[in-house]
Point group: C2
Chain length 324, copies 2
């Protein structure tokens, strides 16, 4: 038997047919027709699933379930997205709508960050563990929690908003309305803001920085500017990266003190910086600052392994999660 996983994003719908070993046998994606509304999105999702099964030569009755990973808060019992600002969903009944278009025995719905964390726990950076946590350093800072080999979503489906934890009281304004959330410092958006602040400071003090050249190269300030400048020997780029790592370590130690997961994995675009982000100094600091610094068993920090496939694999595995 196979399952299909759909990673429903604000830009693209990515889907894949996954076998019982959690390997993607065929995948494809189409742009998300957000402006045409929820029903158009459902139709394109169903069309993509039909195309995939035809192209892979897998009959529909060999597909036991379809899982959908969506942004937003999920109402599990209702099979609804309670709210997703990216997709303009408000109490949108994905499960019912999709099943009407694609006849499959079961349709599962999960938050996208939770699905990615589940995929990493099943067959990625946290495989073989019972309790793990994943954070995703993207435009926002998302999170997923797997406890006792099952996705943890809390009482109302909205758990694991790990970026919306204040770590600096009276700090930067966050999109959520609070001040000093971890996301405001450690998302790509937060890193860009720190980079901009440093660039402004360099301009004011008339200090030269290689970050200026990087900004010209990309035509804008992005999350790579500071890392690139640091690698070229720029002291200001290094300061931005060190400040970023400082906040990232602070938040990770917080999560370790709360969860003591066996593995904490880090996903999202900023992970492409690999050892420049997760450096030996960074790991040592986390090891020394946690409450259990003297314990014989400490959380392993790993870069996520499944990259962009995590959403598809996690969604495809939701049937397994439901049985766990």
């Amino acid at each position: 038997m196979y399952t299909i996983g759909i990673d429903l994003g604000g830009t693209n719908i990515a889907a894949g047919i996954v076998d019982e070993n959690m390997k993607i046998v065929k995948k494809a994606s189409v742009p998300t027709p957000v402006s045409r509304g929820g029903d158009a999105i459902m139709a394109d999702m169903a069309g993509l699933c039909k195309r995939l099964s035809q192209e892979a030569g897998i009959a529909l009755d060999s597909i036991s379930s379809v899982g959908v990973a969506s942004p937003g808060t999920i109402l599990y019992e209702e099979g609804m997205v309670e709210r997703s600002d990216n997709l303009h969903f408000f109490r949108f009944p994905i499960v019912e709508k999709f099943r009407a278009l694609f006849p499959v025995r079961q349709v599962f719905l999960e938050n996208d960050a939770n699905a990615a964390a589940y995929a990493e726990a099943l067959c990625g950076a946290a495989r073989g563990t019972r309790d793990s946590v994943m954070i995703t350093l993207g435009t926002g800072l998302g999170g997923g929690i797997v406890i006792n080999k099952k996705i943890y979503y809390g009482w109302n489906g909205g758990a694991a908003e790990l970026g919306h934890v204040v770590i600096k009281k009276y700090g930067r304004l966050c999109n959520c309305g609070r001040h000093g959330c971890w996301e405001a410092y450690c998302s790509a958006t937060g890193l860009i803001k720190t980079t901009e602040e440093m660039l402004e400071e360099c301009r004011r003090l008339k200090h030269k920085t290689l970050m200026t050249d990087e900004v010209k190269k990309y035509g804008k300030v992005n999350a790579r500017v500071a890392f690139n400048a640091m690698r070229a020997g720029d002291v200001y780029g290094r300061q931005v990266v060190e400040l970023y790592q400082d906040y990232l370590a602070e938040g990770i130690v917080n999560l370790i003190n709360i969860f003591q997961p066996e593995v904490l994995s880090i996903g999202g675009g900023i992970c492409n910086e690999k050892e420049y982000l997760v450096s030996p100094d960074f790991l040592q600091r986390i090891s020394e600052e946690q409450f259990t610094r003297d314990s014989g068993r400490k959380t392993t920090i790993r870069i996520a392994e499944l990259g962009n496939d995590a959403g598809i694999i996690g969604a495809a595995a939701l049937e397994r999660n439901a049985m766990a």
Copy 2:
């Protein structure tokens, strides 16, 4: 059948025989002989259990298990306290030592804050829930997490150190070595420090405050000084309490965004301030600031119900936890 719960504290050993409805049928306590070492503590625990069963007229073969709630990090598989500075335990094998002195089928060991959270989840402020979180505002700020009706202790038994989460980067030095932990502001010790800072400020500016009279009354600054002065109309006492509530709300919203528990209960001595602590303004702020502010299902904040019995009841219920 009955079980015995032992709440092993740095000052007292409290124990109770508990029936199948989680009611304490008989309880007693003795001072903890910390200076005489671990074996003396075990002997006094066993003596207390024998005395209780005799006085209650309950034969030893009607007692299915004894649960011990201890401070410190627990090594579950080994039945050991890995470390408790209060009790001077380091890798101390409570389960093995105690069983040699008190012949009972099963002995369970759990962290005291986890046991209290489990008791509240079973028959206290969070009864009937699946997922709940408890915080304890005592000398330190402790926590316990119950997920899927089971105590969550993480990979190494050290989870739920909810006070050791930095909420104010570069803030007050905490006992754990980090700066700005929630505990440094919201434990009784943190409240006392804030009170002392305000008293110093009043002295410096030559402002009169009723807190000075409260300090004279108690002979020292304690966690009641600011609350008492506020109730007597003192503006500086009010400022201290409002600052305390501000930090408390910040940390509680953090926990809601992470866990979305059905109930978050608040225990510990500071809870005796009841509605002066958990005021309507305080609850409204928590409701408005959480990420799920628009959700139809929101976490209920409750003062813990079991008081000093939570440790005994939670310890006595560890057999049930193990089967959950």
